[in-house]
C-alpha cells in the first residue's frame, strides 16, 4: 500500500474502477492533498450524533448479549512502571476466566502489556487462545529515534506478541509531515513481520493530542493507508482519552475506507471507558455506524483495565437481580 505511490480503488457511479483512479506521490504535499480532501467534520454535529447514540436503551436480552460481547472485546491492560510478572500472571488468569465458577462467561480478547512482560504473558496464556498485545515504539510518548522504535517492536514480536500497539509521531503529524508518519507506520508494520511472525498492528492516534475532529479523521485515514490493522484512540496516558464522538469518527472512517478499498480495519477505543453502560454506548455506535460486521473482537476492542470488573458486576446483576459490589470482583 505504501511506497512511492499510493494505489486507490475508487468508486465511480455504480461501477468500481480498480487501480488508478488516483495516483498520488506520497510526499507531504501529496498526502496533504489527499487527507485534506476528505469531507470536513462539523464538531457540533458529530458531538450531537454521538450523544444521540448514547441515548439508546439496551435492556434485558440485548443487554445480556452486549455485556458478553463487551467482555470478549476487552484488551485487559496493565501499563504501569510498577508492573510485576506476578501481576501480569494474575491478569492473564483473570482474562482467561473472568468468572472462574461460570464457564459460560467468555474470556477477554487480549492481554495488553509492556514489551518486557510479553514472554510472561505468553507463557501464562498458553492454550487459552487469548492474544498477547504489546505496546511498542517508545510508548506512550513515541519520542525515540525510528531505529529504537523498530527494535522495540521487533523485540516484542520475537517474544511472542500477537499484536503490537504503536503510537504515531504526533509532532510530525501536527506539523504536517504526514510522509514521516506514514513511513514510520509502514516500517513498524514491517517490523511486525520480524522472524516470520505476522503480528497485528494497532496504530494509536492519541486523539487527545490531535486537537480537532478533522485531524482525527485525517490521522485515521493516514494510518489505514499506511497499513494499520486497527486504529486506536489513545494510550490512556493522555487526557482526554477515548471519547464517543472520536470513536464515532473513527468508525465512520473504517467504514468508508472499506467501501473505497475493500480492506477492513478494526477500531479500538482505549482509556477512560470504565463502566458497562459506557461500553454499551460504544457497541451501539459500532452497530449503527460501521455496522454489524465490526461487532466482533476481530474488529472492535476496548482497551481497558477497570471496565472488565464493571461488566462482570452487571452480568451478575442481570442474572441474579442483585448488585454485589466492588468487593466481589478481584482488583488486579
Amino acid at each position: 500500500m505504501i511506497g512511492k505511490t499510493c494505489h486507490f480503488t475508487g468508486k465511480s457511479g455504480t461501477t468500481t474502477v480498480v487501480g488508478v483512479t488516483a495516483q498520488l506521490a506520497l510526499d507531504d504535499a501529496g498526502l496533504r492533498r489527499l487527507l485534506h480532501g476528505l469531507p470536513p467534520v462539523d464538531q457540533v454535529g458529530a458531538d450531537a450524533r454521538a450523544a444521540r447514540l448514547g441515548t439508546r436503551s439496551i435492556k434485558t436480552t440485548a443487554k445480556a448479549e452486549a455485556l458478553d460481547l463487551a467482555v470478549r472485546m476487552v484488551d485487559l491492560t496493565t501499563l504501569e512502571g510498577a508492573d510485576t510478572p506476578g501481576k501480569v500472571r494474575a491478569l492473564c488468569a483473570k482474562g482467561a476466566h473472568p468468572e472462574p465458577d461460570q464457564p459460560e462467561c467468555p474470556s477477554v480478547a487480549a492481554i495488553c502489556v509492556y514489551g518486557d512482560m510479553v514472554a510472561t504473558a505468553k507463557a501464562a496464556l498458553a492454550g487459552t487462545g487469548i492474544k498477547v498485545a504489546s505496546v511498542a515504539t517508545a510508548f506512550p510518548s513515541g519520542r525515540a529515534p525510528l531505529a529504537v522504535k523498530l527494535a522495540d517492536t521487533a523485540a516484542a514480536v520475537e517474544a511472542g506478541a500477537d499484536e503490537i500497539d504503536m503510537v504515531i509521531d504526533r509532532g510530525a503529524f501536527l506539523s504536517g509531515r504526514y510522509g514521516a508518519v506514514a513511513e514510520e507506520i509502514a516500517a513498524v508494520k514491517q517490523a511486525c513481520r520480524t522472524g516470520g511472525h505476522d503480528a497485528h498492528l494497532k496504530v494509536i492516534l492519541e486523539t487527545g493530542e490531535l486537537a480537532t475532529y478533522d485531524n482525527v479523521k485525517r490521522a485515521s485515514w493516514l494510518a489505514m493507508l499506511s497499513g494499520a490493522d486497527f486504529i486506536k484512540t489513545s494510550t490512556g496516558k493522555v487526557s482526554p482519552a477515548a471519547t464517543l464522538p472520536v470513536t464515532l469518527l473513527m468508525l465512520e472512517s473504517v467504514r468508508d475506507f472499506r467501501a473505497q478499498t475493500g480492506r477492513q480495519v478494526g477500531v479500538k477505543p482505549a482509556g477512560g471507558i470504565r463502566t458497562a453502560k459506557d461500553a454499551i454506548k460504544y457497541l451501539v455506535t459500532v452497530n449503527e455506524t460501521a455496522g454489524p460486521d465490526w461487532l466482533s473482537p476481530d474488529w472492535f476492542r476496548f482497551g481497558a483495565s477497570s471496565l472488565l470488573n464493571d461488566l462482570l458486576l452487571q452480568r451478575r446483576k442481570l442474572a441474579t437481580g442483585v448488585y454485589s459490589g466492588p468487593d466481589y470482583v478481584t482488583v488486579d
Partner: protein, 477 residues
C-alpha cells in the same frame, strides 16, 4: 436484524393518570362543555385514551368573559416581577412533571418518547423560563418605555407539538400581561389539559389561562369572538387564510405560523456525515410533522449520488414503531386522516415519475404508521416538490451552481425555514441573505431555542414567535 437486536425498552405508562373524561378549563376550574364530547385516540394503537368536552360558542363567550375579567382586575395590573413568579413556577412544575408530560404527549400524539422526553418537554419548560425573565423587563425590549399588553389572546394550536406550541403561545402572552383562551388541536388535547392542572398547581389566578377543547368550529368561535384582542394561530395555510379573512376589518392583532416546504441545501464541501444527520433530523424528526421540516433536499450534483447512498444506509438504521419504546426513532402518524393525505401525495409522486425508496422495515399492524421514504428524480414541477406533505417523505433534487440552489430553494409558495450545509463561512452568510425564509440553519437543522425568533415569509405566515421579537406580538407598540 444483525448480531445486536435491541430488546423492547418501553417507557412505563404508569406515570400518567388518565381520567376517563375531561372537561373545559375555565376560570381556574374544570367545567362541563355544552356541546357534548369527543374522543382522543392513541394513534399508535387506535385505542381511545379519554373523552374530552367539546366547547361551543356559549363556552367561548364565558371563557372570554372570565379572561377579560382576569385581565382587567388582576393580570394586567400585576407588576411584572409578580407575574414572573407565576410563570417561573409553571416552568419548574413542567420540569418536575416532565416524565408524565412526555409519556402523555407520546400517547396522545404518537411521537417517539425520545423526542417528547428530550425535545418537546424541555423546550416547553425553557420557553416559560425565558419569557418569565422578560416579564419585568418589557420596558427594555426596544419596544417603547412602557409597552402595554393587548388584552385577551385567542390562541389556536396544532397537533404536531401540542405542549411546545402551547408554551410558544402562552408563555409570551402571560409575560406581557395578557390573559389567554387557548384551543388545543382536536386530536391532541391531553397535555393542554394536564397543563391546566399545572396552572392550578401554580396557583395562577383564575381566568388568566382558559383551555377550551374542541374541533374547527370551536377554534373559529375563539378567533371570531369580539372580545378577543389578539389572535395567534399555528397550523395549516388553508385555515390560516380563513382566520385572516375572519379577522380582517377588526382591531384584532394577528400572528400566523403556517405551512412550509423547506429546502435543505447540501454543497459539495459540506461536512457530509453531519449533513446526513441533518437531512434525517430535518425530515424524519417527529414523523415529518414539522412545519419547518426540510422536506426538499437540494444537493449539489457532484456529491448527489454519494449523499443519497449514505442517506439510504443511514435510513436503514431508523427504528419505526411503538412511540413509547425508548429506541424508537419514528413513531405513529398522528391520525388516519393525515396518513391518508401522506399516502395520496406519495402516490402522486410515483405517478408523476419520481423514484420512491424506503428501507425495509416492518410496520406495526395496528395504528397509523408510514415508513420513512425518499423520492429521487424529483423535478420542481412534481407535486411532492411543492406541496407540503407533513409526513416522513423527502424529495431529493439536485443543483449545479450556488445561483441555481438559491433559485430552486426560493421557488416555493412558502418561506418558513431553510438549511445550508457547507464548510465555507462566506457562502453561509451569502446564502442566508438570499434565502426568503424566516429561519436559516447553517450546518444544523430543526434546532429550536426560546431566545431565537421563528416565523415565516410568504404563505408561511407572518409575525414572529420566540426571542425578543416574540414579545412584540403580545404588546401594544
Amino acid at each position: 436484524m444483525g448480531l445486536f437486536d435491541y430488546a423492547p425498552a418501553p417507557e412505563s405508562r404508569s406515570v400518567v393518570d388518565l381520567k376517563p373524561s375531561y372537561g373545559l378549563f375555565v376560570d381556574g376550574e374544570f367545567v362541563d362543555g355544552s356541546a357534548g364530547a369527543f374522543k382522543s385516540v392513541n394513534p399508535a394503537t387506535e385505542e381511545v385514551l379519554a373523552e374530552v368536552a367539546m366547547a361551543d360558542a356559549a363556552d367561548v363567550d364565558r371563557a372570554v368573559a372570565v379572561a377579560r375579567r382576569a385581565y382587567d382586575e388582576v393580570w394586567s395590573r400585576m407588576p411584572g416581577n409578580e407575574r414572573a413568579k407565576y410563570i417561573f413556577r409553571i416552568a419548574r412544575i413542567i420540569q418536575e412533571r416532565a416524565r408524565e408530560l412526555a409519556v402523555l404527549e407520546s400517547l396522545d400524539n404518537g411521537k417517539p418518547i425520545r423526542e417528547s422526553r428530550d425535545v418537546d418537554i424541555p423546550l416547553a419548560a425553557a420557553h416559560f423560563f425565558y419569557y418569565a425573565g422578560w416579564a419585568d423587563k418589557l420596558g427594555h425590549a426596544n419596544l417603547g418605555p412602557d409597552p402595554r399588553p393587548l388584552g385577551v389572546a385567542g390562541q389556536v394550536i396544532p397537533w404536531n407539538f401540542p405542549l411546545l406550541m402551547l408554551a410558544w403561545k402562552v408563555a409570551p402572552a402571560l409575560a406581557c400581561g395578557n390573559t389567554v383562551v387557548l384551543k388545543p388541536a382536536e386530536t391532541t388535547p391531553l397535555t393542554a389539559l394536564l397543563f391546566a392542572e399545572i396552572c392550578q398547581q401554580a396557583d395562577l389566578p383564575p381566568g388568566v389561562v382558559n383551555i377550551l377543547t374542541g374541533a374547527g368550529a370551536t377554534g373559529a368561535a375563539v378567533v371570531g369572538h369580539p372580545g378577543v384582542d389578539k389572535v395567534a394561530f399555528t397550523g395549516s395555510t388553508e385555515v390560516g387564510r380563513m382566520i385572516a379573512k375572519q379577522v380582517a376589518g377588526t382591531s384584532k392583532k394577528v400572528t400566523l405560523e403556517l405551512g412550509g416546504k423547506a429546502a435543505n441545501l447540501v454543497f459539495e464541501d459540506a461536512p457530509l456525515e453531519q449533513a446526513i444527520e441533518g437531512i434525517v433530523d430535518g425530515i424524519f424528526f417527529n414523523q415529518g410533522h414539522v412545519c419547518c421540516a426540510g422536506s426538499r433536499l437540494l444537493v449539489q450534483e457532484s456529491v448527489a449520488e454519494e449523499v443519497v447512498d449514505r442517506l439510504r444506509e443511514r435510513m436503514k438504521t431508523l427504528r419505526v414503531g411503538d412511540p413509547l419504546d425508548k429506541n424508537t426513532d419514528i413513531g405513529a402518524i398522528n391520525s388516519a386522516e393525515q396518513l391518508a393525505k401522506i399516502r395520496t401525495l406519495t402516490e402522486a409522486g410515483e405517478a408523476e415519475g419520481a423514484t420512491r425508496w424506503s428501507p425495509p422495515c416492518e410496520l406495526p399492524e395496528r395504528g397509523f404508521f408510514f415508513a420513512p421514504t425518499i423520492f429521487t428524480g424529483v423535478s420542481q414541477a412534481h407535486r411532492i416538490a411543492h406541496e407540503e406533505i407533513f409526513g416522513p417523505v423527502l424529495s431529493v433534487l439536485t443543483f449545479r451552481t450556488p445561483a441555481e440552489a438559491v433559485e430552486k430553494a426560493n421557488n416555493t409558495a412558502y418561506g418558513l425555514s431553510a438549511g445550508v450545509w457547507t464548510d465555507k463561512g462566506s457562502r453561509i452568510l451569502w446564502l442566508a441573505k438570499q434565502m426568503r425564509a424566516g429561519v436559516v440553519w447553517a450546518n444544523t437543522f430543526n434546532r429550536f431555542d426560546p431566545t431565537s425568533p421563528f416565523g415565516g415569509y410568504k404563505e408561511s405566515g407572518y409575525g414572529r414567535e420566540g426571542g425578543r421579537h416574540g414579545l412584540e406580538a403580545y404588546l401594544d407598540v
